[in-house]
Symmetry: C2
Subunit: 111 residues, 2 copies
């Protein structure tokens, strides 16, 4: 117990849930939104902007990187982060599919 039972779900659902989960923390969502705002990639701007300790920010960046939402390139002594195109497009597709499915059904809920 304690750990999520990923084995019992399809890979696709596990992956989609993992993307949502990564976005499901205010600091990480703030990082993503910052990367949406400043087209040019950000480095330690985040550490100054978000009032959390540097190791904490670094950890959140790692979570986003592991899921594939962002990528970072070393640029001198700082790291240049930006959004990962493939992941954003996956998000667009599967959230789009969910919302489309919703649109096609809603005459029915009589709760």
């Amino acid at each position: 117990m304690g750990a999520t039972k990923n084995e019992i779900f399809h890979d696709q659902i596990n992956e989609e849930a993992a993307i949502f989960k990564a976005l499901g923390h205010p600091a990480r969502l703030a990082i993503v939104k910052t990367l949406l705002t400043y087209k040019t990639c950000v480095g330690n701007y985040l550490t100054n902007e978000i009032p959390l300790a540097q190791p904490t920010i670094s950890q959140h960046l790692k979570v986003l990187k592991n899921v594939g939402i962002i990528q970072g390139t070393i640029e001198g002594k700082s790291v240049c982060y930006c959004l990962n195109h493939n992941l954003i497009e996956r998000l667009r597709v599967f959230v789009g599919d969910m919302l489309l499915q919703y649109d096609l059904q809603q005459t029915k809920c009589d709760c």
Copy 2:
């Protein structure tokens, strides 16, 4: 330490992150997808369909209800669940905004 520091973020980011977080577990995403598929509301169908114990499913339903993604109406001895229109539309808007912002920026990332 240990708990998320919601105080340091804007309400809007906290709320959006909370929605993502609720969707960020395969069992809960499976529940939402089931509600998308079976237009008519589901009851203990979920308990039979998802191989997790009944209290576990009940707990996940509670999480989705607390965030407002689903709503349940007592219907005899079972409960009729369905998606909450307002929440789905909020999701559509803020994810749509994020993706639009992404579309408007992407000539820039040179990582």
